[in-house]
């Protein structure tokens, strides 16, 4: 809990209420009812029919993109909104990068009658304008953050600042398994059904556990959600960080493998920082992965080598995005495209190996189509220039 002293009572209050809610059968019943009858759980586990042709690999997608709201984010915001009500808070503060958590927060607040304000970096407001509109439609106030790099990191700082003056009436709904204790635990517990369902579904479909589970890592919530039920099983857990323009360029968002331990955003974890300890700006084509740190449980899984962390570039993610659209008729979020790209890499490395890979398709890609469109258009332009030369 590396936060200004003023926030400590708010964190203690949250911890106390979370612990009691976990033991409260009424709370759990209501939460699971919302997940089932409002959000649409369980989500399917879809076998890819075409992507793996000519290989012995079977790739399954855990379809969090089909959850109401279009991403896994809806799971935990429902839990946190219920916690806020339990603490008698009437306002929600949230931050968002890609807008998926912002949309989920707005959904939960509309449903449960909570006031909602969402901080979003000015750059992200521009690149995720459809999500901004969705949040506004559901009654949330979107506050554009111009400080610093104008991305998720700055939105997080601003949300924490807001909370430090309003914690008596507001709850800060952190969007990922990061931040000060108890947030990483809360978010994991409210996301762990992804892994529980996946285990049940793969055993039903294949009668055995998969070889690997692959998930993208920004803050790490979808990954910890799907990993958590497999941590003590003989399954490879693979987290995929964004390599952005390439690790060597410095324009990436891969603190786990290419950062070092530090203290930021209320937690001690891996960080992108310069020699002096100043936090560096991250980069990813996917706004949801554009964060210079990562949840502390991933730092632990990395240090104990229980999970393996790798990285995928913007271009590789876009290629995977296109493949899934074309081959399976599914538009994945750019975040999830990173995980898929790594699964395809494994498949191509060992095409004749019998293996089962599960990719957590953490969200749908409608929000990213304009970004991808711009990249492809730029690529085509360059192609025709070189053709003419």
């Amino acid at each position: 809990m590396y936060v200004p002293q003023i926030l400590m009572p708010a964190l203690f209050e949250l911890e106390k209420n979370f612990v009691s809610a976990q033991e409260d059968t009424d709370f759990q019943k209501k939460f699971h009812d919302l997940l089932k009858n409002y959000a649409g759980r369980p989500t399917p586990l879809t076998l890819c029919r075409n992507l793996t042709k000519g290989t012995k690999t079977r790739i399954y997608l855990k379809r969090e993109d089909l959850l109401h709201g279009g991403a896994h984010k809806t799971n935990q915001v429902l839990g946190q909104a219920m916690l806020a009500i339990r603490m008698k808070k009437k306002e929600i503060i949230a931050e968002t990068g890609a807008g998926q958590h912002g949309v989920a927060a707005a959904i939960a607040c509309a449903l449960l009658n909570l006031k909602c304000r969402i901080y979003m970096g000015v750059k992200d407001v521009k690149r995720q304008s459809t999500n901004v509109f969705r949040m506004q439609l559901m009654g949330a106030k979107v506050i554009s953050v111009k400080n610093g790099s104008g991305t998720l990191k700055d939105a997080c700082n601003e949300a924490l600042r807001d909370w430090s003056s309003t914690y008596k009436t507001s709850h800060y709904m952190i969007g990922t398994a990061a931040g000060p204790h108890p947030y990483p635990t809360i978010v994991r517990e409210f996301q762990k059904m992804i892994g529980e369902e996946t285990k049940k579904q793969i055993l039903e479909q294949e009668n055995k556990l998969p070889n690997s589970i692959i998930a993208c890592i920004g803050g790490g919530s979808n990954a910890i959600g799907i990993f958590s039920d497999f941590i003590y099983d003989k399954v490879n857990l693979i987290g995929v960080e964004p390599a952005g323009h390439g690790i060597h360029t410095g324009k990436h968002g891969a603190p786990l493998k290419h950062g070092r331990t530090g203290i930021y955003f209320g937690m001690k974890s891996h960080l992108m920082q310069n020699q002096e300890g100043q936090i560096q700006e991250s980069w990813s084509i996917s706004a949801g992965l554009d964060f210079p740190s990562v949840g502390p449980e991933h730092a632990w899984l990395n240090s104990t080598h229980r999970a393996q962390y790798v990285s995928i570039t913007d271009q590789e993610a876009i290629n995977a995005f296109q493949s899934l659209c074309r081959e399976e008729g599914i538009i994945p979020a750019l975040e999830s495209s990173h995980a898929l790209a790594y699964a395809l890499k494994i498949m191509k490395m060992h095409p004749q190996k019998k293996q089962i890979l599960i990719v957590n398709l953490s969200g749908r890609g409608d929000k990213d189509i304009f970004t991808v469109h711009d990249v492809l258009k730029k690529g085509k332009k360059n192609e025709s220039i070189s053709d003419n030369v």
Partner: protein
């Protein structure tokens, strides 16, 4: 007696409040920053609180955040900051000097190495803005090893448990917050209730200074009358720096006048 104790004793005899200005080292540049600090010392500062620039100062409001970014844009090193602090100490033997810093910078230097540098530079105290008392153990122990006082903040809604805890940790002075939130200028006068101040004093014997939102002499007077030992003022000074960024002489003149006005209003006689 350490420098804080000597200063508070002297002020108590003189029936004066303690005025501690806060500035970010290197804002707007190291050269001008040194001139600002000298102007503050010569015109009424009883002690100094110096911010070490950090990229993400989340306990601070927009004014101080911008000051941090202005300083960082000059790309000075941590080593340079401490060289400057050492020089300020050499020139001013008696004034207590504390730094305000964020945890990552301390951790990045190595906790022991950081406090050793503080000792070598002649610093008296360290306040880590994002290390609450509950997480302070390792920092506190190392600070003590190097004879550096640890400064803690006391929220305006602190309960008995917290007041009891802070009483066994606090050194130098207790930084009592006027209000919840982050640093910044307020036009309102934040008088902490006398009953609350009495409650803190029941558990703590060291001086209490009020910070956050202090921007004018009237607030200083109010703080003194409510039983506090003085104030810490940051954003209001940094606001002057920001306003006169390209007029150095005017900036220094205004800062001198401002700190002097705060000091005058702290005199109870």
């Amino acid at each position: 007696m350490n420098r804080y104790q000597i200063m508070f004793k002297r002020l108590s005899l003189l029936k004066e409040g303690c005025i501690i200005p806060f500035v970010v080292l290197g804002d707007p540049s190291l050269e001008i920053s040194i001139k600002i600090i000298e102007a503050l010392i010569e015109n009424g500062a009883d002690a100094l609180e110096v911010g070490i620039p950090f990229s993400d100062p989340l306990a601070d409001g927009p004014t101080i955040q911008k000051a941090n970014l202005r300083a960082l844009s000059k790309k000075n090193t941590f080593f340079e900051y401490f060289q400057i602090l050492k020089k300020i100490r050499e020139k001013n033997e008696k004034i207590p000097i504390g730094v305000l810093i964020y945890a990552n910078l301390v951790y990045n230097q190595g906790i022991d190495n950081f406090y050793l540098q503080c000792f070598d530079s002649g610093l008296d105290s360290v306040l880590i803005a994002d290390v609450p008392i509950e997480e302070s153990k390792v920092f506190y122990k190392t600070a003590n090893k190097h004879q550096i006082n640890s400064i803690f903040m006391c929220p305006p809604d602190a309960d008995k448990n917290f007041l009891h805890k802070i009483s066994s940790y606090a050194q130098g002075f207790i930084y009592v917050l006027s209000r919840a939130g982050v640093t910044g200028i307020e036009n309102k006068t934040f008088s902490l209730p006398t009953s609350f101040i009495k409650k803190i004093k029941k558990y703590n014997s060291i001086p209490l200074l009020q910070g956050f939102g202090i921007s004018n002499p009237k607030q200083v007077k109010e703080a003194m009358l409510s039983g506090l030992s003085g104030i810490i003022c940051g954003s209001a000074i940094i606001h002057i720096i920001e306003k006169y960024l390209n007029q150095e002489d005017e900036m220094i003149k205004k800062i001198k006048r401002f700190i002097n006005s705060l000091k005058l209003s702290s005199k109870l006689k």
